[in-house]
Amino acid sequence: MLFRILSVTATTLALAGAAMAQDQSIIVQSTTSTANSGLYDHLLPIFRDQTGIQVNVVAVGTGQAIANARNCDGDVLLVHAKSSEEEFVESGIGTARTNLMYNDFVIVGPDDDPAGVGGMTDVQDALSKIAEEGALFASRGDDSGTHKKEMLLWGDTEADPTAASGDWYRETGSGMGATLNAGIGMGAYVITDRATWISFENKQDYAVQVEGDEDLFNQYGVIPVNPEKCPSVNSDAAQTFADWLVSDAGQEAIADYEVDGQQLFFPNAPEN
């Protein structure tokens, strides 16, 4: 019996080893919005058909994705927090950052709109009003790209939400989806990227309340991990993937992706 267990285990290890040995596979450390919205399910089969490269996506918050990539646990970084990304490249872990695509953030809230921010187009005004009213607001609180963006936006207001943490300001410390679930559960406003919101399936009586401010612009970037810092990376395949994403083929594929008839991501890579 012992022998049987050991042989099963050996097989398991061998299988795992085989998966590792497969040259043409890379790991993308990614923000969750691109994964949860289904973008990868659309893009990766196209990329694989064209190149034969298997892309494995680890979808975590931008903060954790960058931390994992810093530990050399990924070949490509795809996130949305420009200043952190630039820092990542400056530190030498990333080779170069390229603008990939954008969408925008929105503030979603319940239909009864307790803070009365519905239809506002100035995000600072809207946030200030939420703070003044003491209306519930659910924050990611997890150092993700969305969280960093949210903190930047609060920084331009007079309000100090973290002083009200636990009161009207609720930091979930969770991913976008979990924060939306929690916010909707407690009737709080939430800042989310539009892609996640459109593909989110538990909207209940929630709708977009604030949108259209150019400060809500949400830029995604792609960065291959530097093989000089991380010798284990599959740098050729990583570069191929990054190049493909910003190529005409990749950009078209991104533009083609729709949920409920709405385009989720708008390609804006620089012209080659």
């Binding site: 398991t12 795992a16 998966a19 050399c72 976008m176 989806g177 909207k203 284990s232």
Partner: protein, 235 residues
């Protein structure tokens, strides 16, 4: 809000559809957790047996530690394993992060203390019955451990089941070291977490029901083995 009934219907429909992705996820869940259970038994049972029959200084401290380790938080285990298997960690050169092997390692660490602590209790109880007879037969310590492990086999099956249940149900460790990568390291619990984060609570609940069904099936299989053993007075 989706009702439990809708979720149950969806779960049944999913199972009946024979969805290939679902099957892949279910099989990986079973493969990872059963392998981890096997490893945890290989390590945990002898440790449990040795502590059960041993009389040594610091034994009660060992018992306290063993029992406390049963409550290891999966996310802490996941983090520790991640830090070791990360490319920048001491075992990074093995290239095991984000593979099923990493998940097996994490779950083994998670449940080996459970197997050790519970088997210690089971074997100690049996040893009370056998000790004098075994001393009379002049068995060595190794022979004693082997005989106790074998004679407690049906009770230990339940111990293994407790470990398997903990492994197959945990999400905190495997999501960190496995990465929830589609077609590679996605298991039932990480799929449930993913669907929850997508707001697809109905699908998440349906997957949960399927996971429960798997757990029921495994338990029923073990129970039927135990029933046969009870009829033979082998328990």
């Amino acid at each position: 809000m989706q009702s439990m009934g809708d979720a149950l219907g969806l779960a049944v429909a999913l199972v009946l559809s024979g969805d290939a992705d679902l099957l892949e996820i279910v099989l990986l869940s079973l493969r990872v957790s059963l392998t981890a259970t096997a490893f945890a038994c290989i390590v945990g049972l002898p440790v449990g047996a040795l502590v059960a029959i041993g009389r040594f200084r610091g034994r009660s401290a060992v018992l306290i530690v063993m029992n406390a380790l049963m409550g290891l938080p999966p996310v802490v285990v996941g983090l520790l394993v991640y830090l070791h298997l990360s490319r920048s960690g001491p075992l990074g050169f093995l290239g095991l992060l984000y593979t099923p092997t990493a998940m097996i390692i994490a779950q083994t660490i998670l449940i080996a203390p459970i197997v050790a602590a519970l088997s210690r209790q089971v074997i100690e109880d049996l040893h009370v019955e056998y000790a004098e007879q075994f001393r009379s037969l002049c068995l060595t310590r190794t022979q004693t451990v082997q005989a106790l492990l074998w004679d407690a086999r049906y009770s230990l099956l339940t111990v293994g089941l407790a470990g398997f249940g903990r492994a197959v149900a945990e999400v905190g460790a495997v999501i960190i070291v496995g990465g929830n990568i589609d077609h590679l390291t996605r298991v039932m619990t990480t799929a449930i977490a993913l669907e929850t984060s997508k707001g697809d609570l109905g699908l998440a609940l349906a997957l949960g029901i399927i996971l429960l069904g798997i757990a029921l099936g495994v338990n029923a299989a073990v129970q039927s083995v135990r029933m046969a053993a009870v009829r033979h007075a082998y328990v």
